[in-house]
Amino acid sequence: MNRVTLRFSSEQGGEYLYDDVTGCILPWGPVEDAVLNQELGVPPTDPEREWIGKLSANEINAKTSFIRLWRTHYQAFARDEKIDCLTLTPEQLAQSVWANSAVLLLFLTEDCNLNCSYCCYSSGAYPLHRKPSHRAMTFEQAIKAIDWYVANKIAALERDPLKQLGLSFYGGEPLLNIGLIEQIMEYLEKRYPGLFFAVATSNGVLLSDKIADILVKHNVILAISLDGPEEEHDRLRVDHQGRGTHKRLIANLARLKNRYPDYWAKMLCVSVFDPKSDLIKIAKYFEDNEELLPRCAFVNQVTSQNSTYYQSFTEEDYTRFRVQLRSLRNSFKAVSTAGKEPSSYCQALAGGSIILAVLRSRLNDRKTVLPYTGCCLPGYRMAVNVDGRLDICERVSGQNPIGNVNQGGLDLVKIGRLVAEYQRNVLPQCSACPVSKLCSLCFSTAETSKGVERRSGWCEGTLATAARDLSDYISILEANGNVKAMFERNSLERRRAATMFQA
């Protein structure tokens, strides 16, 4: 048995234990630790003995019986070393995928009107990803994918009369293929009325009145990429002539808000940063312009996965960046503790990782096939490329397709192989991990040119992040327990958006 717990402290000095079996956070001290160790066959240390000596037999008995109670009822605090991964037959895999898949993503085009410096397709810094091209999805290909998806979802839809499926339009820049969006939506309204909820992720530069009319008419909700004030946004988001795009985007947003205020209220912003970003300035920009900008739902760092992008940054960049991040995090904590709503940018950036602590899995949220890390089964969120090739999701490089809509759909043998590889290469140490329920490793983050593997430094980073997030979470609640409801509401709202939009 491995003890799978993490001790941490609040800023105020309270001591806690996170138990990875139950997912619970418990007030905890050296006495509890000594008692637990003893239960697990580890003799107490001298300081622990000293603590034990300070308490009455009554208290020691109570703590012992509590720990035994939780060991007996919930198998808390320790886990078998053996990894208990379920292996599914191809038929079972198909059944699981189709029962759980809720979002279909369509890459409408491989082309883009911009040439962003960090783009995984056009920057050249991500060798595993495809290169930009003028290839676009045809209407025939799109409806073939949609019909195939719905046909396979029939049993799950029969099981769940309330089910609405997500349809996400991606690119490249999906608005380059607005005609296809219109055709698809008309098709859906005729063929599958009410079944799909459609969204698109766009840079917003092409958002003319005519395009807006189409999106509004068909209720396709937009997530707009906006990286901050003009100088920040235009440092990263430029067109093929190297010109900034901020002015054009903001003008489009202002017009859209004026013409369709109700639709505008449903839109979201997605923001990206790298170590050169001035996070304080960006946060202030979003805060000052909350009335003018859609709510910021995601703030993500440019990915370093399989990339040379980060070679260009200096130690000075990183230092300044870390200081700014810390400062925003402190600001988030201060505002939350006061029971106020942090700005949407601050929430998404600083509160983003605390979501994992708020919405962490608990005892009954066990997965079976991939029991550790945050990995979902390939196919739960499938992405269709312009040529019908299927990817695990929009975040992977495309090196490991899981089938093709034009060639029999899902390749269950391939999915089975990928799952086995993940189980073999990534999971073996996870049963001993004290924060496996807080780990976000998945196929997109474990993918390398050699296959799926655990990234070097990932576990150490996850452990440190988890300890910090748990500490921040509990420090806020220790200072003001009343904010828990607000915390949960905001976390759930962001999670809702995350199921639909590119994060």
Partner: protein, 452 residues
């Protein structure tokens, strides 16, 4: 407080929940399946102890000291050196109780199908409309007036069963009236059910109206069948020696080793009657009956409904089997969750005893009717949301199925028409008044721990 400790803060265990009532509170020890009734003084003191300030010196002496010491000894809370935050114990991530695209499908369990209003009895208390519902009406037969049958529903019963099966239900409950009187329809349904071997079927019937042989032939259709035979109030001795048709049927079912249950519909039963009937039925047929209770009390203040109370106006409290059940009760209306009833006319209800229509099946499309949110709202109507129940500390141990129904139907607000455990808002002082199976104790600064 114990002399040895100097730890200045007290916190309840994370799986112990202090639930407020109008007067006093109930402390639920979820894992150990115990409920402690606290009077107002004790619950207010506990809340103070859980506050951000350290325990006051005067709390470390005398009766307050003994009370906290008792809490520690019972393992309900601990002392800490810091004002720690207790993050409540949950079995599932909050994400699971949130809608959204990735939400799991509704957990359908059992579908009831009211297939006929025909009946060969004329029971005086048959709740032919919803003015006179029964407690646990789901176990009894219920005739309904003024219902126009939807012939489309019965023209292809297999289609309805198939849709229900696709929803994931494991149980089909066929009800009436007396379903045996609609023999052809019943057989068509059972033959349809036979195509779905995972479905277990229950037929609730008085068991009369056809021959014994014909009734027994139901077990030959090839479905997992259970007959729920509804008996009516008799002198307890009759259950021991009676040789009427229903008793002969029960004798025959037992001899055949067939699956069957017994529900007894009774009016205003004293506890002693129920115990006696239960014992006699057990002795004769080897199973305990379930009671469907009908109560009439004089009108009060012009309120038309006074019924469904038992044992001098009280229902028995019910312990939760495990933490999962506790949270299920806390988040849902447990007796409705997972079920629905299809009426003769296609009306969808949360259960046979419910007034509310939750939609209507048109063209035999069950799935379309199940898109209505109202059914799921009723499933999730936890007692936290019911006026009167929300003021009762015992709300998570109460399993009454009707209390939240009455005023909800008429006043468009969800309120309990009565308290099934007799004014349990003051549960500490009323502890002697309600029934439980020993899992409830009183805990107070004044008297320490006592049996309730």
């Amino acid at each position: 407080m114990n002399e040895k400790t100097s730890l200045p803060y007290f916190r309840l265990r994370s799986d112990c929940f202090l639930v407020s009532g109008k007067k006093g509170s109930v402390l639920y020890d979820v894992t150990r399946k115990k409920a402690f009734l606290l009077d107002q003084e004790s619950s207010e003191f506990l809340r103070l102890c859980e506050g951000p300030q350290p325990l006051k010196d005067e709390w470390r002496k005398g009766r307050l000291h003994h009370f906290l010491d008792l809490m520690i000894r019972e393992g309900l809370g601990f002392y800490y050196p810091h004002p720690v935050y207790v993050d409540n114990f949950l079995l599932e991530s909050p994400i699971n109780h949130f809608g959204g695209m990735a939400a799991p499908p509704p957990n359908y369990q059992v579908a009831a199908w009211h297939i006929t209003n025909q009946c060969d009895h004329q029971c005086a208390f048959c709740p032919t409309d919803f003015s006179n519902p029964l407690w646990q009406a789901c176990l009894s037969c219920v005739r309904r007036h003024n219902v126009t049958e939807d012939p489309a529903l019965f023209s292809d019963p297999v289609a309805v069963i198939e849709q229900a099966s696709h929803l994931g239900i494991w149980g089909l409950h066929i009800r009436g009236g007396n379903p045996l009187l609609e023999w052809d329809r019943l057989m068509a349904i059972l033959r349809g059910v036979a195509r779905f071997p995972h479905l277990k079927t229950t037929i609730t019937t008085p068991g009369t109206g056809i021959s014994l042989e014909q009734t027994l032939s139901l077990y030959e259709v090839g479905v997992a069948l259970n007959l729920n035979i509804v008996l009516f109030e008799h002198d307890p001795d009759v259950f021991e020696t009676g040789d009427g048709f229903q008793f002969k049927l029960l004798d025959a079912l037992e001899k055949k080793n067939a699956a069957f249950d017994i529900a007894v519909v009774i009016a205003n039963p004293p506890l002693v009657y129920k115990d006696s009937v239960s014992r006699k039925i057990f002795n004769r047929w080897g199973r305990r009956p379930r009671f469907v209770e009908f109560h009439t009390l004089p009108e009060e203040n012009g309120t038309p409904f006074h019924f469904a109370r038992t044992e001098d106006g009280r229902k028995r409290l019910c312990k939760w089997a495990n933490a999962t059940e506790f949270f299920h009760r806390a988040n849902n209306r447990a007796c409705l969750h997972g079920g629905f009833e299809v009426g003769l006319d296609g009306t969808l209800r949360a259960c046979a005893g419910c007034h509310h229509s939750c939609g209507k099946i048109a063209n035999s499309r069950l799935r379309n009717a199940l898109k209505e949110e109202h059914l799921y709202d009723l499933w999730k109507l936890s007692k936290e949301k019911v006026v009167q129940c929300m003021d009762c500390g015992l709300r998570f141990a109460c399993t009454d199925c009707l209390a939240a129904d009455l005023l909800g139907a008429t006043n468009k607000r969800v309120a309990a028409g009565y308290c099934p455990i007799m004014d349990a808002g003051d549960c500490f002082n009323n502890a002697k008044s309600f029934q439980h199976d020993g899992f409830v104790q009183r805990l107070s600064i004044e008297k320490g721990l006592e049996d309730a």
